[in-house]
């Protein structure tokens, strides 16, 4: 998001899922779409069948490669170099959309200067992708009428995550691919409501609706809506909280619906930090690894047990509707927040007090009340209401009640005016293989599991389909280590060590291994690096150095 904000002034998928079939070219980079976003993957395959050119950039031979016109097998952590080289070729061969750049972008000259040395030959050395392929892809992409870029964590979970996103944005801008159907810059959100959580200001620097906390006007506005003074002191990022705890600055933490001990890189460190807290409160539907070390565990509701909205990856606000009551004494998360608020603050804040109903035990304000408050905070959602959402989803911005929503962003301009073509220099990943840890580890998901598996591993069809962790390894590496397929091995990094089965496959290149991160019994994030991107503080979960040993 930080990257998109830098270039465009707003961070979200610019285009729609439905529009994928209209694209002439799809560049899928750092996204194993058919496994992580199966329905979007399906649309890509349908588009490819209809004649749209599919370009995949991924260190692994993912399923999409089977239908791809071009597959660039870059080494993990070298995406920035690859993208810069694409831009270099486009400008070198004068394929950029000059009219579009003149009209809608700035800083072009500095940007052009910054990538002058990023030749395909230079990139080929870094990425392992042949220079001719880079040139060919650049041409296909630049010459297309509608070229869309699709990416996920493969791009962002790096120390260079923000730069990678800026580079992709540069590529989209210089080819004039923002603001039209079947194109755009499309980060595919990995979780159901990443977009909504971001929109709602669950972020130390933004209030709901991306209104900055350091902006006096915004603070005044929210102080008024919430009837409370608002501090101008910046808050801590999730990734900074561990250190703040260790330094004794942070003593109480309330975690709602996350399992950072399993999902965060270098998770042993996160666990150590959480154990230092005076009071850790975890609100979840299962006793997760994080909840196990909590001081207070609050039983929450699943999606089927509550009302509300999720904003999907296309910025569409969609209803979530209660189908069953939560089990036992569990309560929906909003009611829990309301109860805690009541208990700590009394009735001072928004009348968080009221009767409970006998079946669902909800504590007001109800989701519908909160939603109307949200629409008063942010102009992009001002035109939305539960009544309108009954008719169908609405994509923000939707500024008034007659507005149909905005499926495609930037049709007539960018939030920051002109797009800022940022000069990016490429730095490699924080940790590179060496003699002791000779392999590059990259992590990801599989179709049948999801995230830390708290839900999927308790759904029999899914768990039976993908019941255990494995490490994918190239046959050449396996032979060197004298490993047989399915043999148990030990994988270690500087931060930890896990035991799991080896899966020998050509899907990964020599020197590179892949581990899905869903399995707590062999948690990939015990190995990964928590080095942070300097801009948005995302940890480098997607690349680190490890060794694999026979057991």
């Amino acid at each position: 998001m930080t990257g998109l904000v830098t270039v465009l002034g707003s961070g979200a998928m610019t285009n729609t899922i439905n529009g994928i079939v209209d694209s002439d070219v799809m560049l899928v980079i750092g996204s194993n779409t058919t496994e992580t976003h199966p329905i979007i993957g399906l649309r890509m395959l349908a588009a490819a069948k209809k004649g749209s050119k599919l370009i995949v950039a991924d260190p692994r031979r993912i399923k999409l490669c089977d239908s791809a016109d071009q597959w660039m097998q870059q080494r993990p952590g070298t995406d920035g170099a690859l993208i810069n080289a694409l831009c270099h070729v486009i400008i070198r061969d004068e394929l950029e959309d000059k009219e579009y750049i003149a009209e809608r972008a700035e800083n072009f000259d500095a940007f052009k200067e910054s990538i002058a040395d990023c030749t395909p030959e230079w990139a080929a050395k870094i990425t392992n992708v042949p220079a001719t392929v880079i040139e060919e892809v650049a041409h296909i992409f630049a010459k297309a009428d509608r070229a869309g870029i699709y990416y996920t964590m493969g791009i962002t979970q790096h120390t260079s995550g923000t730069d990678n996103v800026c580079s992709l944005a540069n590529l989209a801008v210089i080819t004039g691919n923002l603001g039209k159907a079947g194109a755009g810059l499309n980060p595919l959100r990995g979780q159901n409501n990443v977009q909504g959580a971001s929109d709602m200001g669950c972020n130390p620097t933004f209030f709901p609706g991306y209104q900055r906390c350091d902006d006096e006007t915004a603070r005044k506005k929210f102080a008024e809506i919430w009837d409370a003074p608002i501090t101008d002191k910046p808050g801590l990022l999730a990734t900074e909280m561990g250190d703040a705890i260790m330094e004794g600055k942070l003593a109480g933490l309330w975690i709602m619906g996350e399992n950072p001990i399993l999902s965060d890189p270098n998770s042993a460190h996160a666990k150590k930090a959480f154990e230092q807290l005076d009071c850790l409160v975890v609100q979840d539907i299962f006793l997760t690894e994080t909840a196990e070390i909590a001081d207070v565990v609050l039983p929450a509701a699943s999606f089927a047990e509550k009302n509300g909205t999720f904003a999907n990856t296309e910025r569409k606000v969609q209803r979530v509707r209660r189908a069953v009551p939560p089990p036992g004494d569990a309560r929906d998360d909003l009611s829990i927040i309301n109860m805690v608020s009541n208990r700590m603050l009394g009735n001072r804040h928004g009348g968080y007090q009221g009767t409970t109903d006998p079946i669902y035990h909800t504590v007001p304000p109800l989701a519908s009340d909160v939603f109307s408050e949200i629409t008063k905070c942010w102009v992009a959602m001002e035109g939305m209401s539960y009544d309108r959402l009954e008719e169908g989803a609405l994509a923000w911005p939707c500024p008034d009640t007659d507005h149909p929503g905005t499926p495609i962003l930037h049709e007539s301009g960018f939030p920051r005016g002109k797009a800022w073509l940022s000069a990016i220099t490429w730095d490699g990943p924080a940790e590179n293989p060496d003699d002791e840890y000779p392999l590059v580890l990259t992590t990801g998901r599989v179709l049948y599991q999801y995230h830390t598996g708290t839900m999927t591993r308790r759904s029999e069809v899914l768990e039976n389909s993908a019941p255990s962790a494995y490490v994918e390894m190239n046959p050449a590496d396996a032979e060197e280590l004298k490993l047989a397929d399915n043999e148990m091995v030990r994988a270690s990094s500087r931060r930890g060590s896990i035991e799991l089965a080896v899966r020998i496959t050509e899907r990964v290149d020599k020197g590179i291994v892949f581990i899905p991160f869903h399995y707590k019994e062999a948690s990939a994030n015990l190995l990964t690096n928590d080095a942070l991107d300097p801009h948005c503080k995302i940890p480098e979960a997607k690349v680190c150095a490890i060794k694999v040993e026979k057991m």
Partner: protein, 831 residues
């Protein structure tokens, strides 16, 4: 856009050019049935059900491939069209092999979805199992203990080893919910403003009250006794149904919100006219049959001679009776067995049941006869009491004269009467005699008033009630249960009262009755002889779980329950024995729906009789039963991944497949779309083992909780249980598609690992312990307030979740920013 104008069924319709007749009709809300249609993908083996008559065409046209043209005149349901459809459906049905409903389900007088609740037990969903039972039977605690178990006699498992212990499973789920203090939270309809009086608080009265209350009526039960329960309390002794079970059962029903008036005897304390005057819109008579048929031999007016219902009432009220050491029980019905067993528990040393026919002819359930025998009760058969006039001997109080009986010549129907053997008199010295010769509701004419006098009675002392309407001869007065039908099982009283409740609802609301279950049913064989043993090729012997019970020498010493109930493990093992005969596609089968709509009588036209193909369970998510396949090909054509192959070696003379194979290819991603498109139950989701029948199923539209695509899905919910997830082909962004997680990844919702109560760790190093919300909230608020006071707001932080709703995320950050006073708020997936 160019348009065409055509006439369908006489209506002029203007449609977009280039559409088929089927699509045009659909857009105009004219439904044309089809079994093979998939939009955009033409069938290679069309079902030919969608045919229509087009004027000027000699032959019927398939509407799915015939374009609508200007000036066309189309008939979608002319005689010829219907006849053709019927012929096609009969052909397709002829080889369709399976059971719509399981035999247990069909045999149950209560038509309870037996297979459904067994499947819930197998899945550990005991609450939902009980809710499903209570859809049709609100007294599962009692029925689970005393049911005659018609269902078990038809269980197909008999063809392998032993029937499933269905009734014990019912009792298990009821008892489990009781011991876990489960509030079933069964909803009721909005208040109707109608008031209904229920006379009698036994099984029939409670059942009627339950169903009428659920319909939103204001119900008052009038009960003559000081407590509710009727026969459950005053008829069955504690070793059969303990009183605390009756109390719990009654309270479960009353929790619905039912008024009760106890110790109010009809005819004495109030009359039907009084009820009318009080403003009741209808009255239900469910007083049971509690008046004993007199013991009609000479000299029965002596002390120590009782009648059965009276005797049991006294025992159940805890009265202490002097019964001596020897007793005779006259009669062979179920009540006689309970009398005899109660006598044993009262310390009577020798209890003899006297019955004039053979043992197998006893009206009592043979299971009850065996249980009595186990407890040492003796049977004097082919004997009949002739009087009590003889002078007793010195050791006993009574001398019962008996005469031996023999069987007469068979009558026209083959029934043999009994005849006394002349001169075969004998006598039995006893201290107590209890006669159990049947019961009636009213002896003679019902007392009370004018309306009571108008109540027509049946011979045998029962109220007449119209079998269709349940109404008695007095308008607005209905009757059911034993009061109308004579002494029968509890489940039969429940069924009768439930039917009456449905009739009463229709009467007071002036509306149609809820329709009865359709009797249309494919079956693999009605009787055991019809069922091919090939059905069970893959099934090994697994004997039923043995009900733990107290040995007779111990159990006869007191009134504690004899049968102790299944443990959870036993229940699950027993539930796993179920053969799952009934079709889990019951609620979505298009073939059945069309057969019913077009009135196909498959009993005449034929259905599959033997399994031709083995059921294939090799797929991780989908079970394939090719015996049910009608080769419509919808599965294959709906697959977005081209991962399914349906092939036939050849076709028979009627165009049906021979040598059918349904194969999933390597690239199948288990998304399950093919199952949703299957026109029968040939494809089924493995984790959807509970058939949905007449139950109320809610469909809730919501958003998938997994990745950020935001697929729209439909949750099918029965009771409080999510049965399955489907998608609407007309709603984006997914338009009917879902991935494997969307369709199959929802078992976690009902997983036993779910957190159900708050937990706190009072001190570091101590374990987490469950507490009530109040305590957890206090604990958290105190800790946070202390930190706030000592270190300031920035010593607190919140991590919110991309999994939670926007409303929750908004409220969470608002709490930290405006309540605590810090910007320390983030979420893990911000990037």
């Amino acid at each position: 856009m160019s348009t065409v104008t055509l006439k369908i069924n006489g209506n002029e319709i203007i449609a977009e050019d280039g559409l088929t007749i089927l699509e045009v009709a659909k857009r105009s809300d004219i439904s044309i049935p089809t079994l093979c249609f998939i939009k955009g993908k033409i069938s290679k083996n069309p079902c030919k059900i969608c045919v229509v008559e087009v004027e000027g065409q000699d032959e019927l046209m398939r509407s799915c491939v015939t374009l609508a043209r200007d000036g066309m005149v189309v008939q979608t349901d002319s005689e010829a069209v219907v006849a053709h459809r019927q012929e096609r459906l009969a052909i397709l049905s002829e080889t369709h092999f399976g059971d719509c409903k399981a035999p247990c389900n069909l045999t149950c007088p209560g038509q309870i979805n037996v297979q459904g609740y067994i499947a819930h037990v197998a899945r550990g969903e005991y609450e939902e199992a009980l809710r499903l039972v209570m859809e049709r039977n609100p007294v599962p605690f009692s029925v689970g203990r005393v049911c005659p178990r018609f269902c078990e006699t038809r269980c197909r498992r008999i063809l392998i080893d032993e029937p499933v212990s269905i009734n014990h499973l019912k009792r298990f789920v009821a008892d489990w919910c009781m011991s876990h203090e489960i509030d079933l939270k069964i909803p009721k309809d909005k208040p109707t403003g109608k008031r209904i009086a229920v006379i009698g608080g036994g099984p029939a009265g409670l059942t009627a009250a339950w169903f009428l209350t659920r319909k939103g009526h204001d119900v008052t039960i009038f009960e003559a006794a000081p407590k509710l329960g009727g026969a459950l309390r005053y008829g069955f002794p504690d070793y059969k149904i303990p009183k605390e079970i009756v109390d719990y059962e009654v309270n479960t029903i009353l929790r619905m919100g039912i008024n009760i008036r106890l110790s109010q005897k009809w005819g004495k304390d109030f009359t039907l006219q009084d009820l009318k005057d009080m403003g009741f819109d209808a009255t239900f008579i469910g007083i049971g049959a509690t008046i004993d048929v007199p013991f009609d031999v000479p000299c029965t007016d002596k002390e120590n001679v009782y009648t059965a219902a009276n005797f049991l009432r006294m025992i159940n009220e805890g009265r202490k009776l002097d019964l001596g050491s020897k007793a005779a029980v006259i009669g062979g019905n179920n009540i006689a067995m309970e009398v005899a067993r109660a006598l044993v528990r009262e310390g009577v040393e020798q209890v003899t049941i006297i019955y004039p026919r053979a043992r197998l002819e006893m009206p009592a359930n043979q299971r009850n006869v065996k249980e009595a025998e186990k407890e040492g009760i003796q049977f004097l058969l082919m004997a009949s009491p002739s009087g009590l006039c003889a002078v007793p001997d010195e050791n006993n109080r009574l001398k019962l004269d008996l005469i031996r009986m023999k069987l007469g010549e068979p009558d026209k129907k083959g029934k043999r009467d009994i005849l006394p053997i002349p001169g075969s008199t004998n006598s039995l010295s006893v201290d107590t005699v209890v006669s159990s010769l049947g019961q009636m509701a009213v002896d003679g004419v019902m007392a009370g008033g004018e309306l009571e006098a108008q109540l027509k009675m049946k011979p045998g002392g029962m109220f007449f009630a119209n079998p269709r309407s349940s109404e008695t001869s007095v308008e607005g007065v209905f009757a059911g249960g034993d009061a109308a039908n004579g002494t029968k099982s509890v489940i039969q009283a429940v069924v009768s009262a439930r039917r009456a409740a449905n009739n009463i609802n229709a009467y007071v609301m002036s509306c149609e009755k809820d329709p009865a279950d359709n009797r249309f049913n494919f079956t693999r064989g009605r009787s055991f002889d019809d069922v091919s043993l090939k059905n069970f090729d893959e099934i090994g012997i697994k004997l039923r779980e043995k009900m733990p019970e107290r040995p007779p020498e111990v159990s006869t010493q007191d009134y504690d329950e004899v049968k102790l109930g299944f443990t959870e493990k036993m229940a699950k093992r027993e539930a796993d024995r179920c053969l799952k005969c009934g079709c889990t596609a019951f609620d979505r089968c298009d073939l059945k729906r069309l057969d019913i709509d077009l009135k196909i009588n498959i009993n005449k036209t034929g259905m599959g009789k033997v399994p031709v193909y083995p059921v294939d369970t090799s797929h991780r998510a989908i079970t394939v039963d090719p015996n049910k396949c009608i080769f419509c090909g919808r599965c294959e054509r709906s697959c977005e991944y081209d991962a399914l192959e349906v092939r036939a070696e050849s076709m028979d003379d009627k165009g049906r497949p021979v040598g059918l194979t349904i194969d999933f290819k390597e690239n199948c991603v288990s998304c399950g779309k093919c199952v949703e498109n299957c026109s029968t139950g040939a494809l089924n989701k493995n984790n959807r083992i509970v058939p949905i029948q007449g139950e109320n199923v809610r469909e809730i539209r919501t958003t998938c909780p997994y990745c950020g695509t935001g697929c729209q899905m439909i949750l099918k919910v029965k009771g409080h249980t999510l049965m399955e997830i489907t998608a609407d082909p007309d709603v984006g962004p997914n338009y009917g598609d879902l991935c494997v997680k969307g369709r199959f990844g929802h078992n976690f919702i009902q997983h036993p690992d779910r957190l159900k109560t708050p937990l706190i760790r009072r001190q570091k190093g101590m374990p987490l312990e469950p507490v009530k919300w109040d305590e957890a909230l206090d604990f958290m608020a105190q800790s946070f307030s202390r930190i706030l006071g000592e270190k300031g707001p920035d010593a607190l932080a919140g991590l919110s979740s991309a999994r939670c709703t926007s409303e929750e995320n908004y409220a969470f950050q608002k709490f930290f920013r405006s309540g605590i006073g810090t910007n320390n708020i983030d979420h893990c997936a911000r990037y």
